[in-house]
Symmetry: C2
Subunit: 541 residues, 2 copies
C-alpha cells in the first residue's frame, strides 16, 4: 500500500523560490577590494534569474558543469543557485589546489565555463590553456587590480548579466536524484576524486543545518561563513541560510583575522564557521572586538583544539561548536552540541565533551569497524575502529568510478579513513586517521590525542605527530613542534609537561622543532609531507 | 547526470534505530489511572521489538491496517513505531468520532486489529460487532476499572508482549513512498475521508519539527503533547521528539487542565502543544504553578485567540506559538514564529503578528486563489482568497479516491477550504472558511475576525458567527454568544463594545445567547450544527 502524498521533488528550486518570495528583504553583505557592498535577497534573486539566461546564452549544455573559482561572495551565491536550478552542475574549484590538480579536476569534470573572481585571475590564468573543455572564462570584477587578458574566451560577468533578460518562470528540477553540484576531494594520495551531490542530498543536508541541535539556523540569524564556498558546500551554510531566511555576510578575498573580526562585530553576526586556523589567528583580537551577538562559532575541517575552544570560552563566554564531516559527507555528519547528560558534569568534563566530534545528525548513521576484520565494534568509548558512515547525503561512489570502490564497504557504507571511539551516547571521538596511527608494541597511539596535549602547552603554536619505524616497537612517535613567536621551549620541558598527561609509553621518543606544520590545499596538516621530510629519521635509542 | 549519493530511504526505521541507539537513557513518563509510570527509551525500544513480533503472531497482513483507540501514552508510542517499522499501516482512530463514523472509518480502512486503552473500552465495545474486518481487539490495561468482556476476540496487551520474543534485527522499509500511517478527516460534510501518510512524508515532517523556526525540538527538551496522538500525528511531536532525543511526558486519559498543569510543573516541561480549549481551561491555574521551564506553548487546531495568547504572556511571560495545518497537511504547514522584521514593532503589533497563522515551514508552498476564477492573488495582506498548499507531506488525494478530487486543483495543490490573506513576508492570516463567510452587499465579512472581537469582551466565554439569509444584503451576521458563568451581558452592551472595533457594516444584526457552541468530534466549532439550529431565523429589520 502506497502513501497518498504529493510527489514533490526535494530540489534546489524550492530553496530559491522560498527565499525570493518570503525573504526578499533580507540582506547580503560582501566585502571586496572595492569596499563593502550590501544588497537584498530580492535584488540578488533577479540577478540569479539573469544568470540563468546567461548560462543559456553561453551555450552551456543541459547538465553541463559550471566551474567557479571564487571567494565567499554574493556573486558566488548567485552561481550556487543559477547553475543547479537550471539543471547544470555547480563545480566549485578549490582555489588552493596545486596547478596540476586544478587542471586535472577541471578536465575530469569537463567544465564548460569557469567563473572567476578578478582577484583570483592570476592563479587561474596560467593554466587556462590546459583546460580542455572550458570554452569561456567569465571574470567577476571584485575591484582587484589584476590584469584582465585580452582574449576572446574572456567575458565580463556584469556585462553578460546586463545583456540578459531575467528568466521569468519557475525553476523546476523534477528528478531529485539529478546532480546539483560536485566537489573534488583534496586526497593526500593519488588524484583528487569527484563527489557528486544530488538535489535531494543538497536539500536534505540544508534542512539539517536548520535543526536546533545542529546549527539551528533561524531567520533572526546573521551568518558569516568563513569556511570557503569553493569547497564542500561551505558546510551547507549558504543553502541553509537561504532556506531559513538569514542575513548573510561574506568576507570576500580578505580572510585575515582582523577583517573577519571587524565584520563579525560590525554586522552583529550571530553564527560563523571556519577551520581552527582562522580562530587561532583571531584569538589575540578578541579583547578588542564586541562579539556579543555571536551565539555559535562552528569549527571544523580539523579536530578543534580543546585549548583553543576553552580560550574562546574564557575570553568571550562562547566555546567552539565542533562539527565533523568530509567532502564525501556533504559534509555535515556530526555536531558536538552539549547534551542534557552533560549538565551535571564538571566544566572540565564538558570541555572534553565539546572537543569530541559529537553525535550524528538526523539521517546520518555511523559505526566503527575493526580495520582488519571489518567487524562492528562496541560504543564503549574504549574500542576504536574505522569510522564508517551511511545516509542520504553520503557519497555512494566517486565520479566515473575513480578509486574502484576501495573507500566503500560491501554493504555500501563510506569508509571515512578516520579512526574513532564512540561513547554510549553516540558521541564520536576521533583518535586518528587509519593511515596515521602510531602502532607501538601492538597497541595504537593516537597521534591526534598526543598533538592535542602538546598544543595545550602555552608556548606551542601547533604540533604534528608522526610514526617513525622502530626495531623493537614497530613504530614510535616523533613530535614536530612549532613554537610561538617570542616563546622558547626545549624538548625536555615539553616532555616534562606531557608526563602527567599521557600514558608513559605514549611519550614521544623525540621532539623536532620546525617553522610550520606543512598543510594540504584545504589547510589540513599534511602528514604525508612531514613523513617525507623525516624519511630515514633515526630516533635516539 | 545523476548525483552519486547513497540511496537511503527516508523511512521511520531510522527514527526508531536512532532513538534506540543514541537516546536509550531518555525518559518516557505516562500518567494513567494506576498512577504515573516512568520508563526509558531503551526499555520502550525492547517493547517495540516485542510488539513487532506480536503483530506477526496475530497474523496481521504485510501492509495490514493496525487500528489504535488510545490516549497519549508510551504504549501508544510503541504502536506508532512497531506498526510502520514492520510495514503495517498505523490507523489512529479518533476516540471522539460519533459511533457511526467510527464504524465507517474502521471498515473503510479495513483495520485488522484494534488496540484499545481499557479506559476507552466502553466507547469502542458497543460497535465492535459492526467492525467487519477486525479479528482481534487488544486491550491495553491502563488501570481503569472498565469491564473487559469475555470474548474470544479480546486479548491482553501485556500478555501478548510477554509471550513474544523481541524482533532481533534491523527494521527496514526500503520504499519510502510506502504507507506508514493513516488518519481520517473529521469532515463537516459527508463521510470522513482517509489521508494516507507515507514514510517519506512522516520522516520529512518530523524533521521540520526540529528546525529552529518551527518547534526547534532539541535533545534538552522535555515535551508534553496534549494534542491527541489519535488525530493527525499529534502535530508530528511524537516522531519529532524521538528523532531529536527529547524526554516525553504523556497525559494519559486525564486531560483536565489541573492534571496537565501539574505535569507541566512537576516534570519541568519545556515544550507543550494543544488546542485553544485546553489553554483556556488552564488559564485560571497559571498563578498556582511554576511553569518557568516552558519555552514554547504550541497552539493549533483553531485560530489562537489573541486575547488568550496575551493573557499567557502577561501571566507567565510566554505567549502562544501558533501553528496551522490540517489532517491533509500532516499537519504542520505554518508556524507563527516571531521574525526579525517584527523586532521594531510595538507590543500590540507583535501580538497581532503572533495571532496570525505564520509563515510556511520549509518544503511547504502556499498560495491564495480567487475562489471563483482560481487565479492566484497577491500577497499584500488585503486580497484574500482560498488558501492552497503543496509539498511532500501534503495529501495528493484521499484513500480510495473519496471526494473525487474536488479538494485538489488541476495542478495538484490541496484546497484547504480556508480563506486567507498573506502579507509581503508570507505571514498567513486566516479570515474564514470558504463555506463560512458572510457575504454582505457583495463584500465579505470575516466571521473569524468578528468572533475574535466578540470573544475579547471580558464577559464572553466563546462565540460563533453565522450567516443568515437577508433579502437586501444577501447575508448578514448573527452572533451566537456564550456568557461566562457568573457574568451577565446584553445584546446592546455587546454591540456597544464592538462599535469602535469593527466596521459599521460588520456589526451583527442580532445576538443570540446560547449555552455552548456546538463542537465537532475534534473540538472545532460546528457551524453546520449552528446553522441547522438557526435555520429559518428571522433577523430584526
Amino acid at each position: 500500500m502506497l502513501g497518498l502524498m504529493q510527489d514533490r521533488p526535494l530540489s534546489l528550486p524550492h530553496v530559491f523560490h522560498r527565499a525570493e518570495r518570503m525573504f526578499g528583504h533580507k540582506r547580503l553583505i560582501t566585502a571586496s577590494p572595492a569596499g563593502e557592498r550590501e544588497t537584498t535577497v530580492a535584488e540578488w534573486a533577479v540577478r540569479v534569474r539573469r544568470l540563468a539566461t546567461v548560462l543559456d546564452d553561453l551555450g552551456v549544455s543541459a547538465d553541463g558543469r559550471v566551474g567557479t573559482f571564487c571567494w565567499n561572495t554574493d556573486r558566488h551565491l548567485e552561481l550556487y543557485l543559477a547553475a543547479p536550478c537550471t539543471g547544470r552542475v555547480l563545480h566549485t574549484l578549490n582555489i588552493r589546489l596545486f596547478p596540476e590538480q586544478l587542471v586535472y579536476v577541471a578536465n575530469h569534470a569537463e567544465d564548460e565555463v569557469v567563473f572567476v573572481d578578478r582577484s583570483l585571475l592570476p592563479v587561474l590564468w596560467p593554466v587556462v590553456d590546459q583546460l580542455e573543455t572550458v570554452r569561456t572564462i567569465v571574470v567577476i570584477d571584485d575591484g582587484a587590480d589584476a590584469e584582465i587578458p585580452s582574449d576572446p574566451r574572456v567575458r565580463d560577468y556584469e556585462e553578460l548579466l546586463a545583456a540578459a533578460e531575467p528568466f521569468a518562470g519557475r525553476f523546476s528540477v523534477e528528478d531529485e536524484n539529478a546532480a546539483a553540484a560536485m566537489c573534488y576531494t583534496s586526497g593526500t594520495t593519488g588524484n583528487p576524486k569527484g563527489v557528486v551531490y544530488s538535489h535531494r542530498s543538497a536539500v536534505l543536508h540544508s534542512m539539517v543545518t536548520l535543526t536546533a541541535d545542529a546549527f539551528g539556523l533561524a531567520e533572526r540569524d546573521v551568518v558569516l561563513p568563513v569556511v570557503p564556498m569553493f569547497h564542500a558546500n561551505a558546510w551547507g551554510i549558504p543553502y541553509g541560510a537561504l532556506l531559513a531566511g538569514c542575513d548573510l555576510v561574506f568576507p570576500g578575498p580578505n580572510m585575515s583575522p582582523a577583517a573577519i573580526a571587524s565584520q563579525l562585530e560590525r554586522h552583529r553576526v550571530t553564527v560563523t564557521g571556519g577551520v581552527p586556523t582562522i580562530w587561532m589567528g583571531m584569538r589575540p583580537l578578541l579583547a578588542d572586538h564586541d562579539l556579543s551577538a555571536l551565539r555559535a562559532i562552528i569549527c571544523g575541517g580539523s579536530a578543534v583544539p580543546r585549548a583553543l575552544s576553552e580560550a574562546y570560552r574564557e575570553a568571550i563566554g562562547l566555546p567552539m561548536l565542533h562539527a565533523w564531516g568530509m567532502t564525501e559527507t556533504s559534509p555535515i555528519a556530526t555536531v558536538s552540541t552539549p547534551r542534557s547528560h552533560h549538565a551535571g558534569w564538571t566544566e572540565d568534563q564538558r570541555a572534553d565533551a565539546r572537543a569530541r566530534q559529537g553525535q550524528a545528525v538526523p539521517f546520518v548513521e555511523l559505526r566503527i569497524a575493526d580495520p582488519d576484520t571489518g567487524e562492528e565494534m562496541p560504543w564503549d568509548d574504549e574500542a576504536s575502529g574505522e569510522l564508517q558512515a551511511a545516509g542520504p547525503w553520503i557519497a555512494a561512489e566517486y565520479y566515473r568510478g575513480e578509486g574502484g570502490g576501495a573507500q566503500f564497504t560491501a554493504d555500501g557504507w563510506l569508509k571515512t579513513g578516520d579512526v574513532a571511539a564512540v561513547d554510549r551516547w553516540g558521541f564520536v571521538r576521533l583518535v586518528d586517521r587509519t593511515k596515521d596511527l602510531v602502532k607501538s608494541g601492538g597497541e595504537w597511539i593516537s597521534s591526534v590525542d598526543l598533538e592535542n596535549e602538546i598544543m595545550a602547552h602555552p608556548a606551542v603554536a601547533e604540533a604534528a605527530v608522526i610514526a617513525i619505524p622502530h626495531e623493537k616497537w614497530t613504530e614510535r612517535p616523533l613530535a614536530c613542534v612549532v613554537v610561538k613567536p617570542g616563546e622558547s621551549l626545549t624538548a625536555d620541558e615539553l616532555l616534562e609537561f606531557l608526563a602527567p598527561r599521557v600514558a608513559k609509553w605514549w611519550l614521544p621518543d623525540a621532539v623536532e622543532f620546525i617553522d610550520e606544520v606543512p598543510k594540504t590545499s584545504v589547510g589540513k596538516f599534511s602528514k604525508k609531507t612531514l613523513r617525507e621530510k623525516f624519511d630515514g629519521y633515526s630516533l635516539p635509542s
